[in-house]
């Protein structure tokens, strides 16, 4: 059976760097940081008082009444999906709704809604709890709202694999189209949990940077001074389309989603495997699935969250599975870590790196760790031919996802 080729025909995002893909990409190429101080009153008690908050509030895009029934993670998934849908030019294309699917996940889901409604429950009693509480906090909420908005009837899916979610949602989209269950899949990830409880939880794990006095310098993957990740919020969505479907309607194609590799560590609930075994297998599987030459994969958008252990394990995995030729980027140095949206936003960065022939900069890489034995475009973007590129995403629970994109 011939396998369907899958291409990317639309992009959408709202991030700490910008309210859309163009502004986010411009900011990335310029090496701007989206990290800043948390000035909310509740932040004063925390050991971590920095985060990468959205550049554009959803209230600037969606109307007030609509927002009343949306968790923040749902609202920004809708914003990103609307952009991607418009970008793909599918609105009046006559696409059969039964051939349109959605695959949008979140790492944590509607936690802030649950916490806010619990405050209401405690203060005012059960009758005051909003009737919108359940659809706002349910983990399939973002996917369901996107499906409702676009009229998708081929299935609405919500992957949850912590910080690998966005990438795994895209991998699922690839599977859906290859299996012939849809012609178009709107796929991505969303996260909005900048709230004292999730921050305190991650901080208690000692997973977060406490460089509170230098927010813009706090996210520093591969740098000797790195001391944990910086929490970010945002959403990224791509439109995946069967290649012949896109060609038939004359769609603009950004890149081809050539392959995906998914593995699980079965090792520890939060620690990555000590030799990066699961990551190595995921990258190898993705390369084999994509059927591309390793030497063509000239760029990797790494998972690289700025944690002491994880950053170096990924370098070892890349050397083993791919080689020593790619030029790396850790865009989390600018966006912070968007958890369930990270793999989606970084896929968008990977796709645009291929399209524009440019590796985005990794900022704050002032004093590289000795273990960094691969090339990185430190501080400044690097222009070069990129026939193919890899995006890695790993998540608590031992989830490893690698995606390979190639030039259209």
């Amino acid at each position: 059976m011939t396998r369907h080729d899958v291409v990317v025909t639309g992009l959408g995002a709202t991030t700490p760097l910008g309210g859309d893909v163009a502004s986010t990409w411009d900011a990335m190429l310029a090496g701007r940081s989206g990290v800043g101080p948390l000035t909310q009153e509740w932040a004063a008690q925390l050991t971590v008082r920095i985060a990468a908050q959205l550049a554009v509030e959803p209230s600037e895009v969606l109307d007030r009444v609509r927002l009343r029934r949306l968790d923040r993670s749902e609202a920004i998934a809708l914003v990103a999906a609307q952009q991607a849908w418009a970008d793909a030019g599918l609105a009046d294309s006559g696409l059969d709704p039964e051939r349109l699917a959605v695959s949008v996940g979140s790492g944590i889901g509607g936690a802030t809604t649950m916490l806010a409604q619990d405050d209401i429950l405690e203060a005012s009693g059960p009758r005051r709890v909003s009737p919108h509480t359940v659809p706002m906090l349910m983990p399939n909420g973002p996917a369901a709202w996107v499906g409702l908005e676009l009229g998708a009837k081929a299935g609405v899916h919500s992957v949850a694999s912590a910080c690998a979610t966005g990438a795994e949602a895209i991998a699922l989209g690839l599977d859906i189209i290859r299996a012939g269950r849809a012609d178009v899949v709107v796929a991505g990830g969303t996260e909005a949990v900048i709230h004292p409880l999730p921050i305190a939880g991650f901080a208690s794990m000692r997973a977060m940077s406490t460089r509170n006095d230098e927010p813009e310098r706090a996210s520093r993957p591969w740098d000797k001074g790195r001391d944990g990740f910086v929490l970010g919020e945002g959403a990224g969505v791509v439109v995946l389309e069967r290649a012949d479907h896109a060609a038939a309607r004359g769609a603009r194609v950004y890149a081809r989603l050539a392959g995906a590799g998914i593995t699980s560590d079965a090792y520890d609930i939060v620690q990555p495997h000590a030799e990066g075994e699961g990551a190595i297998r995921a990258i190898k599987k993705a390369i084999a699935d994509a059927d591309v030459a390793k030497m063509d994969i000239m760029h990797v958008n790494a998972h690289a969250t700025s944690t002491p252990v994880g950053d170096m394990l990924e370098i070892g995995a890349l050397r083993q599975a791919l080689g020593d030729h790619p030029v790396l980027a850790a865009t989390k140095s600018m966006t912070g870590h968007l958890l369930g949206a990270a793999g989606a936003l970084e896929s968008i960065a990977t796709i645009l790196a291929i399209r524009d022939g440019v590796v985005p900069p990794t900022i704050n890489l002032d004093d590289p760790d000795e273990g960094l034995t691969l090339e990185v475009a430190a501080h400044k973007a690097r222009h070069m031919e990129i026939p193919a590129a890899l995006n890695n995403a790993f998540g608590f629970g031992g989830h490893n996802v690698a995606l390979v994109f190639t030039r259209a």
């Binding site: 109307d63 009444v65 009343r68 029934r69 009758r127 909003s130 009737p131 919108h132």
Partner: protein, 79 residues
């Protein structure tokens, strides 16, 4: 409180909760058919009305409140 005052109060709630244009709110209007208030929003309207008018509207009464006028009559009788 006059019926017009209660209607105006309900219009404020409907605008806040469901984005209904206050000019569209009149006693003869059905919440669901004319004002497009769905079942979850109706719950919010009821809770907000209880607070605003200092009345109790039990769940088994809500199904009888088809129109704005039904709600005004109920609130008028309770307050």
């Amino acid at each position: 409180m006059t019926r017009d005052e209660i209607t105006a109060g309900l219009a404020e709630i409907l605008e806040e909760v469901a984005g209904v244009n206050p000019d569209d709110v009149a006693e003869g209007k059905s919440f669901t058919d004319d004002l497009d208030v769905d079942s979850l929003s109706m719950v919010e309207v009821v809770v907000a009305a209880e607070e605003k008018f200092g009345v109790k509207i039990p769940d088994n009464e809500v199904q009888n409140l088809k129109t704005v006028g039904d709600a005004v009559s109920y609130i008028e009788a309770q307050s």
